[in-house]
């Protein structure tokens, strides 16, 4: 008999009330969940709060999860649903203009959208590159940000993303294609030719 995936075992133990097993799951998923939420709500502080909320809700509902092996898509679905609800209740996020302060920096700073006319050689600092890349992702639509984050940042297969987003695999691929096109237009200037 094949050995059970350790993650599935953690899920079973957490379902039975083992908090240590649940912490193992948290360690494994917190980065992915946090990034997905961040790309939807675009605020680090809110993403942190919502990440905690996702895991609290997951702990509550775990006993009702029928298939432990479906945990991944299940918890990402909680994260995306919770983020959508949060966005709906905090419409200011949608109305945010590019000139408004970005992120949680109290001193302000404006959202940076990559200017591909600039000299790529100027972007020597990793932090700067990160800012540019994150800004480029932030410029995508909500659905496109989600597929890019799940597929490219978290390495989730398109079939699983389809389950998380309640859509077909074809729709996921189509969104991925549009997102890749948009990111290429924004970031191609940083690639050496």
């Amino acid at each position: 008999m094949a050995a059970e995936n350790p993650q599935t075992e953690w899920v079973r133990r957490a379902q039975a009330g083992d908090l240590q097993a649940f912490e193992q799951l948290f360690d494994q998923y917190q980065r992915g969940i946090y990034n997905v939420i961040y790309q939807m709500v675009r605020s680090e502080a809110d993403a942190a709060d919502l990440t905690q909320d996702v895991f609290v809700r997951a702990w509550k509902a775990l006993p009702r999860l029928d298939a432990p092996e479906a945990f991944t898509s299940w918890i990402y679905r909680i994260a995306t649903n919770l983020s959508r609800n949060w966005i709906r209740d905090n419409t200011r996020v949608r109305k945010e203009s590019l000139d408004q302060p970005f992120g949680d920096d109290e001193e302000g700073g404006t959202r940076e959208i990559a200017d591909t006319r600039g000299d790529p050689a100027d972007l020597v600092q990793t932090q700067e590159v990160q800012d540019v890349v994150r800004s480029a992702i932030s410029g995508l639509s909500e659905d496109h940000r989600t597929v890019v984050t799940l597929h490219h940042l978290e390495g989730m297969p398109v079939e699983d993303i389809a389950k998380v987003m309640h859509c077909s695999v074809g729709t996921v691929k189509s969104r991925l294609s549009r997102a890749r096109d948009a990111l290429k237009r924004k970031l191609a200037g940083f690639i050496e030719r």
């Binding site: 009330g17 908090l19 912490e23 948290f26 360690d27 917190q30 980065r31 946090y34 990034n35 961040y38 680090e44 993403a47 942190a48 990440t51 905690q52 895991f55 609290v56 702990w59 509550k60 509902a61 775990l62 006993p63 009702r64 029928d66 990793t126 590159v129 990160q130 890349v133 994150r134 480029a136 992702i137 890019v148 984050t149 490219h152 940042l153 074809g170 691929k173 189509s174 991925l176 294609s177 549009r178 890749r180 096109d181 990111l183 290429k184 970031l187 191609a188 940083f190 690639i191 030719r193």
Partner: protein, 183 residues
């Protein structure tokens, strides 16, 4: 296929959503056109850049608040629904076994005959008595219709019941299964 068209399709090509023929056309073009091939490499490099620099590290200590809420008893866990037991693997196996058993039992159980002879003796013995010519004719008609119909058994049994009802009680044979003629 020209370069402009191929570049429009590069993203779709890279996620494999083009139909087979178009995918092959783009692939064939890329093998011959260095510029378009370079565009595809740039797209792949952009996505590597995104993968490398796009993630944020979550702030440390996030689990503490989760643990505190759980340990303080502020989180009431939901119990599985009572019917969820039917979704467990052993329950599914048991249900499948019972279903197969029922089917096997249905196949092995003796059943009433589903077919009748297509030609009937005009003096067919029914319920231990000899039917009159008129009744025999009625039975034959019923039987002929019944053998072809979906409710064959029912029609046949109704015909027999009709005959039995029309005969005097004293003619009814008390020994079922034993054929005899009444003089």
């Amino acid at each position: 296929m020209d370069c402009t068209r191929v570049r429009d399709l590069l993203a779709d090509y890279s996620v494999r959503i083009l139909d087979g023929r178009t995918h092959q056309l783009v692939e064939g073009h890329l093998q011959l056109c260095a510029d378009c091939k370079e565009e595809l490499r740039v797209m792949d490099s952009v996505m590597l850049l995104v993968e490398e620099h796009g993630t944020l590290a979550p702030p440390p200590g996030l689990f503490n608040a989760v643990r505190n809420q759980i340990e303080a008893g502020q989180v009431t866990r939901q119990r599985p629904a009572w019917w969820a037991i039917f979704l467990t693997t052993p329950a599914r196996v048991a249900a499948m076994g019972m279903a197969m058993g029922a089917v096997a039992l249905g196949l092995l159980m003796p059943t009433t005959p589903t077919s009748l002879p297509t030609t009937l003796d005009p003096h067919l013995p029914i319920a231990g008595q000899v039917a009159s010519g008129e009744l025999s004719s009625s039975i034959r008609q019923h039987a002929m219709a019944a053998t072809e119909g979906p409710l064959a058994d029912r029609v046949a049994w109704e015909a027999m019941a009709q005959i039995a009802a029309q005969q005097p009680d004293e003619n009814v044979d008390k020994k079922p299964g034993k054929e005899r003629r009444v003089e």
